[in-house]
């Protein structure tokens, strides 16, 4: 439909509000309380415009554009004098108590309030009275609180409380003294608290980790990157200055993370700056262990000529690095650095997804689902952003139902909230020990993995009676299954979420069966399997056997092992890992951080982290995403693993043609070698890409101090950093000055929009797809016509054993991936490792909360935590925390009282 803004016709989409229409039309209309993800409440009154009845109407009516829907032919005046005056007045009101402390405010330079103030033209202060002041709160090591800067837009509470479901941040007091914070000082409990820094239009909530090494947005060298802390692969923008990674902010991706990140992703970057980094090639046993690259290559060429060369790939290394390793050692000697169980389960998932009979659900699919079943996955802890998406599914379904009831527009958050009250969409959270999303779930079941799988199969049977029914099932289980099946049948886009937390293949199979059974009538269900690491899917697609399979081969002795970015002690029980190392005569490790595995290495090679590297990763849904170098580390020896591996390949094969393979050449080779990766190179901006012959600059045009930054080291101006080979991005502020392609924008900026909200200018409409959006590279292809092959082997009901317990991992939301726990701020929030037992089992063992017990074959005694709804016969052990031991997850263990 057509709307007239200041008498000019624009095309607008029905069902949007006037503010969204104006922003989509590229008109600068200031706003505060509205947010594309949070909707409108009309509280700040900043986006006022005039609405005219017809062409002749000159009076018009002042309305809040965020609270008024788009109507065909509606005439609005944005530049109309009274509307402008009112908007200026609103800013003046906001400014009455704002401290104007921009020089010391972390938000300065990327502040929505600054932008909006300039936009309205407010420049003269008429308020000459004392400003009100508040006391700030301690909100933990991640978020800084500075209440005086608050302009009371309520976004923080609406995000934290309503959107993310946190209940420890709220609004207190009234009138011009409202306070946003906690009831008392304390760490914010939600693992999504970091988004407050971006949601807040000014500097009330800011990134506390950035404060440690504060840098203005305009002084950062930034690049589009991808989070490496879990298998979701949220898009991030990482920024560097002086060779230090300074911060990570959200990079909008409509289909993946939208506007938000979890705290693990946002604050888990600090490991890049860790003192524990491997910065020099090391050869152990020498007088001086740190060696030059020539010495290293010399040593390596000797080692690589050994006969028994095995490569251990990594689930957290890029596709390129894994492939380069595979090429170096040969496909037959390439193993995945994960346990056999994990390898088996991921293979099963790959097999299921490659069938193509089920659609792989993106986070957006999950958010838009009208029924979600979480089958056995502890998504809150293993893929936090997916848990947030699941929450949105439950909330949005209820909102959509309510909106349809009174034909309210979807953006009208305030009205919809009133209607919805406590209604929720259908969510069944079936887990071993429960999770915080239990409290929005209609159905919560806490059961052991086998019983979870049985429930899944029972649901599948209810949905399609061609599938086998459960043998000797109890009525309660069947009743739950019927309830879930009924909800699924009514839904239009259900999503089944499952994964590896249960360490149980039946759960994975059951999840498949439910989804496939739903697709019997028509194709509507999709499925998401959460994996442990950022590139678990990429590694799994390479179909490498697990590291444990090395022992299968009879002459697995005196091996020379090349271990790529992998702490084997994190994936294999200590005994297994020790056994492996005892059989290796030489260990070459490439890693970025010193860990237990690098301790064992004779040769240690410094690998780049995500911030210093280019690479591709495949997320849980089979989406290939590329991340780009943010900076080149000062320690010149740190290079991408694939770079080292290429050099080794040249050294080994002794046929140097002078240079190694470039990134795109490597990807092309991978696509040829492994057709499953066909198209992955499309996920990266070609290194030859340029706009009018110019690079995309990684630095904003306001980047400061170029001639002074390193002048204290060398007065002669440094040559700008240059990548080996070509790249679409430049390391300076020079280059293309316009808007870069949104999918690969190193940072979001638009004239007049310095804050992150400038992303609107890159979108087709607020909260929508990017302009000129490049479709994602999906490695799993939907085959709608193909009939699914159901799994029919249902496990027996779980029976607790005597004196033996089923051991399962309990991950923590801030540390299910390896690297985030190397970040100081996050590490301080990690709990002590513990063993979770059911009440009965604890009584059986005669232990209480806090008593120490030893789980065999583990070596350390851990404190007990009694769980009220945990099934008997299962024991959950903290996993992923620094120093925690690894067990044969899903196996039976003995417990001994300390």
């Amino acid at each position: 439909m057509t709307i007239y803004i200041d008498n000019k016709p624009y095309e607008a989409k029905a069902g949007k509000n006037l503010l969204e229409a104006c922003l989509a039309a590229g008109i600068n209309l200031p706003y505060f309380c509205w947010h594309p993800s949070l909707g409108s409440v009309g509280a700040c009154r900043q986006c006022a415009v005039k609405v005219f009845k017809d062409e002749k109407d000159t009076q018009g009516r002042l309305v809040m554009s965020c609270m008024e829907g788009v109507r065909d032919g509606v005439r609005i005046g944005v530049e109309e004098a009274t509307a402008k005056a009112f908007r200026e007045q609103v800013i003046e009101w906001m400014m009455t108590n704002h401290p104007h402390d921009c020089p010391v405010c972390d938000e300065g330079g990327s502040c929505h309030l600054q932008d909006m103030t300039v936009m309205t033209g407010h420049d003269y202060r008429r308020y000459h009275y004392k400003k009100r002041t508040y006391k700030n709160q301690y909100l933990g090591p991640l978020i800084n609180h500075e209440m005086n800067r608050c302009i009371q837009c309520y976004r923080c509470v609406r995000y934290y409380h309503d959107y993310a479901g946190g209940d420890d941040l709220n609004v207190f007091a009234a009138h011009n003294h409202v306070y946003f914070g906690r009831d008392k000082d304390g760490v914010l409990q939600s693992p999504f608290s970091g988004n407050l820094a971006e949601v807040c239009p000014t500097g009330v909530f800011t990134d506390k980790t950035l404060k440690e090494h504060y840098t203005r947005k305009w002084d950062l060298t930034m690049a589009p990157s991808v989070c490496t802390h879990c298998s979701v692969g949220c898009n991030i923008t990482a920024g560097e200055r002086y060779g230090k990674l300074r911060c990570v902010v959200n990079r909008y991706n409509e289909e993946v993370n939208g506007y938000f990140l979890c705290d693990r992703g946002r604050f888990g970057y600090e490991f890049v700056n860790s003192e524990n980094r491997v910065t020099q090639p090391l050869i152990r046993g020498r007088m001086s262990e740190a060696v030059s690259e020539e010495e290293l290559m010399h040593e390596l060429s000797v080692l690589l000529s050994q006969q028994k060369l095995v490569g251990i790939g990594s689930a957290r290394a890029s596709l390129e690095s894994n492939f380069a390793l595979r090429q170096l050692v040969g496909a037959g000697n390439f193993y995945a650095g994960i346990s056999e169980t994990e390898a088996y389960l991921t293979r099963l998932i790959v097999q299921v997804m490659q069938e193509g009979t089920l659609h792989s659900a993106s986070l957006k699919d999950i958010e838009q689902a009208d029924a979600v079943i979480v089958l056995g996955e502890d998504v809150w802890n293993t893929a936090p952003m997916m848990a947030l998406a699941v929450r949105q599914a439950a909330m949005k379904t209820a909102a959509n139902n309510a909106a349809a009831q009174l034909s309210l527009p979807a953006w009208h958050d305030a009205a919809i909230k009133e209607l919805v009250q406590t209604d929720k969409g259908f969510l069944a959270n079936i887990t071993v020990a429960g999770s915080p999303i239990d409290n929005i779930a209609q159905v919560t079941v806490h059961a052991v993995p086998d019983d979870i799988a049985r429930l899944g199969f029972a649901v599948a049977h209810e949905l399609s009676n061609t599938l086998p029914a459960l043998a000797n099932a109890d009525e309660k289980l069947l009743q739950t299954a019927r309830q879930i099946a009924a909800a699924l049948q009514q839904s239009k886009h259900p999503v089944i979420v499952s994964g590896l937390s249960c360490v149980n293949s039946a759960v994975i199979r059951a999840a498949f069966d439910i989804a496939a059974a739903l697709n019997n009538t028509h194709w509507k269900a999709s499925v998401a399997y959460v994996l442990p690491e950022c590139n678990s899917m990429g590694l799994a697609l390479m179909q490498a056997p697990s590291a444990e399979r090395i022992f299968d081969s009879s002459n697995a002795n005196d091996m020379t092992a090349l271990i790529l970015e992998n702490d084997l002690y994190r994936y294999l029980p200590q005994a297994t890992a020790d056994a492996f190392f005892s059989r290796c005569s030489n260990v070459i490790a490439l890693d970025s951080i010193h860990n237990n595995t690098t301790e064992k290495a004779q040769v240690l090679i410094p690998a780049a982290t995500f911030a210093e590297a280019d690479g591709s990763m495949v997320n849980y849904e089979g989406r290939t995403q590329h991340y780009y170098k943010v900076f080149i580390p000062k320690e010149g020896h740190i290079k991408e693993s694939f770079h080292w591996l290429n050099s080794m390949r040249i050294a080994k094969n002794n046929r140097s043609n002078g240079h190694g393979l470039s990134l795109d050449e490597l990807l092309h080779e991978a696509e040829i070698e492994m057709p499953v990766f066909e198209g992955v190179h499309d996920a990266m901006l070609s290194p030859h890409y340029s706009i009018h012959g110019e690079h995309i600059p990684r630095e904003p045009h306001r980047y400061s101090g170029r001639t002074a930054m390193y002048a204290n080291l060398n007065v002669s101006e440094q040559k700008p950093l240059q990548e080996e080979g070509e790249s679409a991005f430049g390391f300076t502020m020079e280059g293309f000055k316009g808007q870069p392609p949104a999918d690969a924008a190193p940072f979001f900026w638009s004239p007049g929009w310095n804050s992150g909200q400038s992303v609107t200018k890159y979108q087709q409409e607020p909260g929508g797809a990017f302009k000129g959006h490049i479709p994602a590279v999906q490695l799993f292809h939907d085959k709608v016509d193909k009939a699914p092959v159901f799994f029919k082997d249902i496990p027996e009901a779980f029976v607790a054993r005597k004196q033996k317990w089923l051991v399962l991992p309990q991950y923590h939301v801030l540390a299910s991936g390896e690297l985030s726990s190397y970040t100081k701020a996050l590490a301080s929030l990690l709990p002590e490792a513990c063993v979770v037992l059911s009440e009965t089992d604890a009584a059986l063992l005669g232990v209480r909360d806090g008593d120490k017990i030893r789980v065999h074959p583990g070596t350390t005694a851990l404190p007990v935590k009694v769980h009220l709804s945990l099934a008997n016969g299962v024991v959950l052990i903290s996993a992923g925390l620094p120093g925690t031991e690894v067990y044969n997850w899903g196996d039976w263990v003995k417990i001994e009282k300390e």
């Binding site: 009455t96 009234a174 009138h175």
Partner: protein
């Protein structure tokens, strides 16, 4: 002698208690109403022309007929006893002295609306009244007017008293609902209206104490009879709580046919201004309605006599008129300072703003500060224009009407008494010393007579 419907028996000994109340004909309306159909009661109320006595004056019968009646969903009646408007204390009087009248009205109204659980949301500062109400409820219950199967009709009704925590904004019906639900008392966005989704998502009607009490005489005498009292669309009687510089402050029941002049000067009502002082101005309907100078109070701008009813008081719009509002009649004599009076009101509204939308949250605080400066002789001429500018931008641009309520007194004060503001600016020392305003307004009756 004026008609008295609500306060007829107010002076009967022991009327606060059931026995005396019943003896004087109390609970007759319940007996009558429970024999009627709920629709018929709504019809009677509609016919009576009863307008909401809380301030907005929305026809009560109309409001009742809007209530949604979805199958199987309970409905609620909420009595808005959060009477917090400065100058208004009629509900307090009703609840304190005639609690059974309110209970009776509530039972009838609950029956008409199908509410089995009815709430009285009472202002927190009325700390002693809930006890009176609860005692009355217990008495009514003991005598079979409340509880299960009332009078054998199968109608169940319980009344609960809920104390507020002292927020003016909770007198706004949606904020009241939020507060009743135990949440922060922020006004809701409408739609959905409370009649569709109110307390706990259920259809809800929120009515003022006086409105619900007025249902009793309506049922007793019939809607048509009730409508005959009063004039035009201002039917029935209205309680006016008169205060300020008058000889006889108190709550008066008027039938809306008397003139303002009569109300102020007649011995039956306010009894004139004490000490022979002159009338300067009056806020006729509670603090949020525009203040009127004496000349415009007694006669409209057209020179017609102004009467104490909805239409006449608002004659002339905001430029030369005011509003009936909630019936808080505040009289200012010649010694009173309008600036000081406005400051007091501005302080009240600043304190009571919920803090949700910017104009009200920031604007009220700013206005208070400017007024304070002017009042204490630190103002500038430009402050008066700034004040005018701020109130103009608040008015009509807020989520709930509190912004308007805060802006109107300031607007009217500047509109009618700008010279007084200017005097404060021009005579800083004197305004600091005297702390009250000009007394140069002639006796209004002289102006009117001239």
């Amino acid at each position: 002698m004026a008609v008295k419907l609500l306060l007829e028996n107010a002076h009967v000994e022991g009327i606060r208690y059931y026995e005396a109340y019943r003896r004087t004909g109390g609970y007759r309306s319940v007996e009558k109403a429970l024999k009627m159909t709920p629709e018929a009661i709504v019809e009677e109320v509609k016919k009576s022309g009863l307008r909401g006595r809380g301030g907005a004056g929305f026809p009560a019968g109309m409001k009742w007929s809007f209530i949604a009646k979805p199958e199987g969903v309970p409905r609620h009646l909420v009595c808005n006893a959060d009477e917090s408007e400065p100058g208004t204390f009629k509900d307090r009087y009703l609840m304190e002295f005639l609690p059974h009248l309110l209970i009776e009205g509530l039972i009838v109204s609950s029956f008409a609306l199908g509410s089995n659980a009815t709430y009285i949301y009472i202002r927190g500062e009325y700390a002693w009244i809930p006890d009176i109400l609860e005692h009355a409820i217990d008495e009514a219950k003991a005598n079979g007017w409340l509880g299960k199967n009332i009078l054998g009709t199968g109608f169940d009704c319980e009344i609960y008293v809920q104390r507020g925590a002292g927020a003016y904004i909770c007198g706004e019906e949606t904020a009241l609902i939020e507060s009743l639900e135990g949440k922060r008392g922020n006004p809701r966005i409408k739609p959905p209206f409370p009649a569709v989704k109110g307390v706990w998502d259920r259809p809800t009607v929120v009515n003022n104490v006086e409105t619900l009490a007025a249902v009793v005489p309506i049922i007793n005498m019939g809607g048509d009879e009730y409508a005959k009292i009063g004039v035009g669309r201002s039917t029935g009687t209205k309680l006016i709580s008169a205060c300020g510089n008058i000889n006889k402050p108190g709550v008066y029941e008027i039938d809306m046919t008397i003139s303002v002049e009569e109300f102020i000067y007649s011995d039956e009502y306010c009894g004139g201004i004490p000490n022979g002082k002159k009338l300067k101005a009056c806020i006729p309907g509670g603090s949020s309605v525009p203040i009127l100078p004496a000349n415009l109070l007694l006669k409209t701008a057209k020179g017609e006599t102004r009467y104490m009813n909805y239409e006449s008081l608002s004659d002339g719009g905001f430029a030369t008129g005011s509003m009936m509002g909630s019936g808080g009649f505040i009289v200012l004599d010649e010694d009173q300072c309008v600036v000081r009076n406005t400051l007091t009101l501005a302080r009240f509204y600043r304190h009571e703003s919920c803090g949700q939308c910017s104009p009200c949250r920031e604007g009220t605080g700013w206005m208070e500060k400017i007024l304070k400066n002017i009042e204490y002789g630190k103002g500038k001429m430009s402050d008066i224009d700034l004040l005018w500018d701020i109130q103009r931008k608040i008015e009509g641009n807020t989520i709930c009407p509190l912004g308007d309520a805060a802006a109107w007194p300031v607007a009217a004060a500047i509109r009618h008494f700008r010279d007084e503001f200017e005097w404060h600016v021009l005579n800083p020392e004197e305004s600091q010393r005297r702390n009250y305003g000009l007394a140069h307004y002639a006796d209004a009756r002289e102006i009117v007579a001239a």
